[in-house]
Symmetry: C2
Subunit: 130 residues, 2 copies
DNA sequence: TGAAAACCGACTAATATAGTCGGTTTTTAT
DNA sequence: ATAAAAACCGACTATATTAGTCGGTTTTCA
C-alpha cells in the first residue's frame, strides 16, 4: 500500500550520489548517476531538474558541468527530497472527501501523515552517507 | 505523496459504519452504508467482500441480511483494515529494486514502513467510534 | 568552434485505480 | 411455494497516474 513512486526512489538515490561528491571541485553529471544507479537517463534528467527547482541542488551547464548539492548534506532531509518530487504531499486530501463532517476517518489519515512527516524530517542526507 | 486509495478510504468508513451497529441483532446492508457514506454501491460491495475474506466482517445472505463485525471493535485495528484492502503492503518492495546492495536508500523506506505500521496498529475501530 | 553538458516541454506507453455490469445463490417474510 | 432482498462473484471498461521517451535549445569550456 501507499507505494513510493519510482520518481521518488530514483530521486533519493540520485541525491545520495550527489551528496557523496559534496566538497569536490567538479559537479557530477546526470549521465554518470544514471549509469551508476541504472536509472533511465531522460527520466532522471527530469527528476534532477525538479530537485534543482526546489533548491536542493545547483546545476552548471556546459563541459565539466553537472550538479552539486546547494547546501551541506546535514541540512537536507528526506522530507525535503520527497516534497520536491511529489505534488500532493498528503496521503489524503480532505478537501476532496466532500463529506468533511461525516468523515470520521480523517483522524487516521492525519495521524499517518504526521508520523510520516516526522520520520522523513528526522532523516538527513548526511546520515545516509554512512 | 503516497496517496491512500479510495478503496481503502471507503473501506475504513464502511468499517466504522458497521462497527457502530456492533451488538445490534440485525446486520447492516451494503446499500445502507453506500447511501449514508455516498459511496458507489457496486464498488463498495467489492470492498466489503474483501473485508469479509480477511475475516473482519461476517456476511449474512437473504432478506434481513447484511454485514456485522466478526469480533469486537477493540480487536480490529486500522492496520487490519488497510492490509485487507491493499495487496502490496510495503511502500517499497526491495526485491523489485534489482540493485539490492547498491540501494543505500532502502533504510529510509524501511523506516517509513515501520512508522506507518506502528501508527496503524495503534488505532482501533473502538477508538474511532468516539 | 565544437563537444558536452544542463535545460525544457510535449508526447507516448504502461500500469493501477475506480467504477460498472450481469449474473448466481441464499435466506426470509408472506 | 414463492417472491423479494440481500450477499456473493468474476469479467469488463473507463479514467488517472506513473514511467519513460523524444527532439530540441542554451550554456560553458577546452
Amino acid at each position: 500500500m501507499m507505494k513510493i513512486s519510482k520518481k521518488t526512489q530514483y530521486g533519493l538515490r540520485a541525491m545520495i550520489c550527489i551528496a557523496r561528491e559534496y566538497g569536490a571541485k567538479t559537479p557530477i553529471t546526470v549521465k554518470s548517476i544514471s549509469e551508476k544507479e541504472a536509472i533511465p537517463f531522460d527520466f532522471l534528467e527530469k527528476i534532477v531538474s525538479r530537485l534543482e527547482k526546489a533548491s536542493l541542488v545547483k546545476g552548471r551547464k556546459g563541459v565539466q558541468g553537472g550538479y552539486m548539492l546547494s547546501r551541506p548534506p546535514a541540512k537536507i532531509s528526506a522530507k525535503n527530497i520527497v516534497s520536491a518530487l511529489e505534488e500532493n504531499d498528503a496521503p489524503v486530501n480532505c478537501r476532496l472527501c466532500g463529506r468533511k463532517s461525516v468523515c470520521s476517518s480523517k483522524n487516521v489519515w492525519k495521524k499517518i501523515e504526521n508520523s510520516l512527516n516526522s520520520t522523513l524530517n528526522s532523516i538527513t542526507l548526511q546520515s545516509l552517507l554512512k
